[in-house]
């Protein structure tokens, strides 16, 4: 059975940062259609800062929750914007969920993912269907939990999460935005994928790749 130590978690941030960098232009373009065209910039800035901060830590002497809190703080301070408080809260809640552990087992990893989704929801007060990153994060967390409960193991559970995120993000195209910048567009937001949901897919898929060996 997989266990995930602090070094693996640091690697996870490198994986996310790399994936987001590759995705940056697409995310800016999506945000240009219904927002202010900067989502790729914010996400790259945030995850580069998080990666730089956590890879500078001495992994052997650092608990996972400390690393996650450090990631939260550095993401937030580099970014602000909407993504800053949302992802910072995600990682702080993730940290709380694994507090005291020196390494995460499979259940811990899924609990972290669920705590992250809950953190985003608490911070942003968005419900599923309001065309935000929550439309990817909430079903992803739920799918991972269900798969693990059904005894599927971490790799398959994270695959289920990534699939659910993709489906959720796709579904934002048919939604009218009710939160965030795009909420002023009314019907004009229809037909376009929410950039935060799109980047959530990238983030969750990078988590999957780096944690599911």
């Amino acid at each position: 059975m997989t266990t995930i130590d602090t070094a693996r978690l640091a690697g996870m941030f490198t994986a996310i940062a790399d994936a987001i960098s590759t995705d940056k232009d697409r995310l800016c373009a999506l945000d240009g259609v219904i927002g202010d065209a900067d989502h790729g910039i914010a996400m790259e800035l945030g995850f580069s800062a998080a990666r730089d901060a956590v890879t500078a830590l001495d992994a052997g002497a650092t608990e996972p929750s400390t690393l996650l809190n450090m990631a939260a703080k550095s993401f937030l301070n580099a970014v602000g914007a909407s993504s800053g408080p949302l992802y910072a809260t995600a990682f702080m809640r993730g940290a709380a969920a694994v507090k005291g552990k020196t390494a995460l087992d499979e259940a811990d990893a899924v609990a972290m993912l669920q705590a992250m989704a809950k953190g985003i929801q608490d911070r942003g007060k968005a419900e599923v269907g309001e065309k935000t990153m929550i439309d990817a994060w909430a079903p992803a967390a739920e799918a991972a939990g269900e798969a693990l409960a059904a005894g599927k193991g971490l790799a398959v559970s994270l695959e289920a999460a990534a699939d659910a995120a993709r489906t959720g993000a796709e579904a934002t195209k048919t939604m009218i935005a009710a939160k965030g910048r795009a909420s002023r567009l009314g019907e004009r937001s229809l037909g376009h994928m929410d950039p935060g949901a799109a980047s959530a897919v990238t983030v969750i898929d990078a988590i999957r790749k780096s944690l599911a060996e």
Binding site: D25, C28, G32, V33, I34, G35, D36, A37, D38, I41, A42, L45, L76, N77, A78, V79, G80, A81, S82, S83, G84, P85, L86, R123, G124, K179, G180, R181, A182, S183, R184, L185, R188
Partner: protein, 335 residues
């Protein structure tokens, strides 16, 4: 092909801009040591005065830094381009602006700003600084009247911050400052129109697409789509369309007095703004509304976006007194 900009590194544009601002305005502005994105008035915060902290994303200059000064805001927290500042610099502003009588947070109503300023307010509370928040929601295009609280804050910040800054400078109570700030917001109505996009320094790509003969009515100051896109019309028609929408909300009576701001979103020159103001002033005169004061120029921009906004600020005795209260800020004259 990338858009042309006189910058060095797109990722450093905001910090380099701030360095240039501090170098240009040493008599007015200073950075808070250790918190380079927190800019404070050299002459503003003082014991017993309600502190006024404003802020938001960069790219709207002279908003927000232009409003920092005696009689206006005590401090501003500055985010990345079109991105709210994070809580830390906001908190530092709150500490520096606090005179023990409470601190007002004022900023445009955007999800990102609300989350970051709220986090900062929670942190300030832990430092025993009482914070109250007044959001500006003057952009009539961004939500129906019944949902005014959902609207964006745009160029109307000019009047809204001005009123609040005057109230604070007059050493009014926290309750009074808050009341006047809210009232100024309730009395302020803005409509904008965009003709062509800007580009972020990090990407140097146009942030939206628009046809060569199109305009977008109601576009936000970050390029967020507005209420309608259509063929470019004449200045008078555009002014009428914007003003009609404002008047519908404001429902003025003959004899009312207002202040107006005709604002460039960036590259629309003064010639066009004044042509619009000609129509605007004629229309207001026709309905018997008196114009107490007019500002025309680049006050709340979207980098080099082309377009303009009209703001009408409905005055009564106390709002007029707040508007006329002297202030001294770095980048323009406002009182």
């Amino acid at each position: 092909m990338k858009t042309k900009k006189l910058i060095n590194d797109g990722g450093k544009a905001v910090d380099e801009m701030l360095a240039g601002i501090l170098a240009a305005h040493p008599r007015h502005l200073d950075a808070i040591p250790g918190s380079p994105r927190s800019i404070i008035s050299r002459d503003g915060p003082r014991p017993g005065k309600v502190g006024l902290v404003i802020g938001g994303g960069s790219g709207h200059e002279p908003t927000f830094l232009g409003f920092v000064g005696k009689g206006l805001a005590d401090a501003a927290a500055i985010g990345n381009v079109f991105a709210s500042p994070p809580p830390d610099p906001i908190l530092e502003c709150a500490k520096a602006a606090s005179g023990g009588a409470g601190v007002l947070f004022m900023y445009g109503n955007y999800a990102g700003d609300v989350m970051n300023f709220d986090m900062a307010a929670e942190m300030a509370a832990m430092d025993d600084i009482e914070v109250r928040t007044v959001l500006s929601t003057d952009d009539v295009a961004s939500a129906p009247r019944s949902e005014r609280h959902k609207r964006r804050g745009v160029a109307g910040n000019f009047f809204i911050f001005k009123a609040a800054g005057a109230a604070c400078d007059r050493m009014l109570s926290f309750d009074e400052c808050e009341r006047l700030a809210k009232k100024a917001n309730d009395h302020t109505f803005t409509m904008g129109v965009a003709l062509s996009p800007c580009s972020l320094p990090q990407t140097r790509r146009p942030n939206f697409e628009i046809g060569a003969d199109e305009m977008e009515i109601g576009m936000g100051i970050h390029g967020e789509p507005g209420v309608a896109r259509g063929p470019l019309k004449s200045a008078d028609e555009v002014t009428d369309e914007m003003l009609d929408r404002i008047l519908e909300e404001m429902t003025p009576s003959r004899g009312d007095r207002v202040a107006v701001l005709v604002n460039s979103l960036g590259s629309t020159p003064l010639m066009e703004l004044y042509i619009m103001n000609r129509r605007l002033s004629q229309r207001l005169a026709d309905i018997g509304v008196g114009v107490h004061a007019t500002w025309v120029g680049n006050y709340c921009t979207s980098l080099e976006m082309a377009g303009a906004s009209i703001t009408v600020h409905r005055l009564d005795g106390e709002l007029q007194a707040m508007l006329d209260h002297p202030c001294d800020c770095a980048m323009f004259r406002a009182g």
